[in-house]
C-alpha cells in the first residue's frame, strides 16, 4: 500500500472517511510510525480548538444581539436610515448651534423654492434648487451612507451631502434620499430631501430645510440647548410618507447601488 497522504490522515482523525477506508488506514498506520506521528499532530491540533471556544456557547447571548434579531420590520427605511446615520455620527454635529425656526416642506419638482425667510447674505435658497450642481454630483457618484464633501476657499464654506437611500419609483426612475448641509462663516443650512434622476440629472422632488445660527451669533446663549442629532430630527418622520409613496419594491441593496454608480445609472 502506498504511503498515506496527510489529507487522508487528517480525514481519518476527523472521522471523515467511510468505514472501509478508515479500516485500511488503521491497518496501514500499524506499520507506519511517521504516519502515526502525523495523526497525533492532527488530534492535538483538533483538541486545541475544541475546548476554549465552547465557553461562548454556555454564556448568555448579549441583549443587544437579541434586540438586533428581534428588531421589528426589517428593511424598513427608517431602520436603514438610522443605521447609515449611525455610521457617520460626525455628520452635521450641531449641539453648539441654535436652530432658527425655518422649516419648509416642498413636494413636487419645479414647485418653486422656499418662500420662508432665508439667512441674509451668503445662504441663498439657490443651494436648494433642482439645478444644484454639487447635489447632482454627490447623488451621481456617492454611495449611501458615505459623505460627499466640497470646500471652497478658506472662509469655512463647505458643502456636505450624504445620500441615505436609493430606490426606484413607479415610473422606473432612480430616486435617492439625502441629507445636505451648507456651512458658511456665520451659519449653516441643513436640508433633507428626495431627488429622482430624470434625463441625466437629479431633480429634487421633496425638500425640507432649516437654518442654523452659528454659536457666536446667538442672541441668547440659553435659547436653545436641544440635542440635535440628525439634521432634521423628528421632522424627518413626515418624509417617510413621501418616500413610501414614491418607492416601489423597497430600497436597493448596496451592491445594486454600487453597480448603478459604476455604470452612470443606466
Amino acid at each position: 500500500m502506498a504511503k498515506l497522504d496527510e489529507e487522508t490522515l487528517m480525514a481519518y482523525v476527523d472521522c471523515e472517511l467511510d468505514p472501509p477506508r478508515a479500516a485500511e488506514v488503521e491497518a496501514a498506520l500499524a506499520e507506519d510510525p511517521e504516519a502515526r506521528a502525523i495523526v497525533r499532530m492532527f488530534r492535538e491540533s483538533a483538541a486545541l480548538m475544541r475546548g476554549p471556544f465552547d465557553e461562548v456557547l454556555r454564556e448568555p447571548v448579549p441583549a443587544h444581539l437579541l434586540a438586533a434579531v428581534n428588531a421589528p420590520a426589517t428593511g424598513k427605511i427608517s431602520d436603514i436610515r438610522l443605521a447609515r446615520r449611525r455610521s457617520v455620527a460626525r455628520f452635521l454635529p450641531t449641539t453648539a448651534w441654535a436652530r432658527a425656526a425655518v422649516v419648509a416642506l416642498l413636494v413636487g419638482a419645479g414647485a418653486g423654492y422656499l418662500t420662508a425667510q432665508w439667512w441674509p447674505g451668503a445662504l441663498e435658497p439657490s443651494t436648494l434648487a433642482a439645478s444644484d450642481a454639487l447635489l447632482n454630483e454627490a447623488l451621481e457618484t456617492t454611495a449611501s451612507g458615505t459623505l460627499f464633501v466640497r470646500r471652497e476657499g478658506d472662509a469655512g464654506v463647505a458643502r456636505e451631502i450624504m445620500p441615505l437611500l436609493t430606490f426606484r419609483d413607479a415610473s422606473n426612475r432612480y430616486c435617492r434620499e439625502f441629507e445636505s448641509s451648507l456651512t458658511v462663516s456665520d451659519g449653516r443650512q441643513v436640508s433633507y430631501g428626495v431627488a429622482c434622476r430624470e434625463r441625466g440629472a437629479w431633480q429634487t422632488q421633496a425638500l425640507m430645510a432649516r437654518q442654523l445660527i452659528a454659536p457666536t451669533l446667538r442672541g441668547d446663549p440659553a435659547a436653545d440647548h436641544s440635542q440635535y442629532a440628525p439634521a432634521m430630527g423628528g421632522d424627518v418622520a413626515s418624509f417617510d410618507t413621501v418616500i413610501q409613496q414614491l418607492m416601489v419594491n423597497g430600497p436597493l441593496q448596496p451592491e445594486e447601488e454600487a453597480a448603478l454608480i459604476g455604470q452612470g445609472w443606466r
Binding site: I38, M49, P52, V61, H64, L65, G75
Partner: protein, 172 residues
C-alpha cells in the same frame, strides 16, 4: 414564516458568536460581527431559500462581512505579517502547559494564519462542521477545504506547541 426564521436565528446566536470569536479573536469584535450579520440577514430574508440550511447561510454572511472588514483593515496597514514565525508570547517556560489551552494563546496563534485557513479551521475544528458542510459555507470544493485545513492545523500546532510539526507529506 419570518417570525419563525427569527427564532431560528436566535437559536443560532451562540454558534454564530463562537464562529465570530474564532475569526476575530476578540469578544467585542465578534459580537459586532454577529450583529452586523444578523442585520444583513434580516434585511435579505427573501434571499434565503427555505429548503437550504439557515446555519450555512448565516455563516456565509458572517464570513463575507469578516472578509470585507479584514480587507479594509489590511488596506489601512493593520495587516499582521503572516510569515513571521515568532512563537506567541508566553509559549516558553513551564507556563506553556497552563496557558496552552487558553483562548488567548489559540486566538493569537490563529491571528497568524491566512484568513482562508482561519475560516476553514474555525468551521471544522471549532464549530464541528463536516468538510462538505464547510465547503458549502465557503463555496469552494471539498478538496480545497482539506488542503487549507491540513496547512492550518499544522501551522497552528507549530505555533501553539512552539515546535515544528512532523515532516509534511504530500499526496501520493
Amino acid at each position: 414564516m419570518s417570525e419563525d426564521v427569527r427564532q431560528q436565528i436566535i437559536a443560532l446566536l451562540p454558534r454564530l458568536r463562537r464562529f465570530a470569536l474564532g475569526l476575530t479573536g476578540s469578544r467585542d469584535d465578534a459580537d459586532d460581527l454577529v450583529q452586523a450579520a444578523c442585520e444583513r440577514a434580516l434585511s435579505r430574508l427573501h434571499q434565503w431559500q427555505p429548503d437550504t440550511r439557515l446555519d450555512s447561510w448565516m455563516f456565509r454572511i458572517v464570513k463575507t462581512i469578516w472578509i470585507d472588514q479584514w480587507r479594509t483593515n489590511r488596506a489601512r496597514g493593520e495587516h499582521v505579517d503572516l510569515d513571521s514565525i515568532e512563537p506567541p508570547a508566553g509559549s516558553n517556560g513551564r507556563h506553556v502547559t497552563e496557558a496552552r489551552n487558553t483562548l488567548e494563546v489559540v486566538c493569537r496563534a490563529m491571528e497568524r494564519l491566512p484568513d482562508e485557513q482561519r475560516l476553514v479551521l474555525t468551521l471544522v475544528s471549532v464549530d464541528g462542521l463536516s468538510y462538505e458542510e464547510a465547503a458549502a459555507v465557503l463555496e469552494v470544493p471539498v478538496g480545497t477545504v482539506m488542503s487549507r485545513l491540513t496547512r492550518a492545523r499544522r501551522r497552528l500546532y507549530e505555533l501553539v506547541e512552539n515546535k515544528p510539526a512532523t515532516l509534511a507529506r504530500g499526496r501520493n
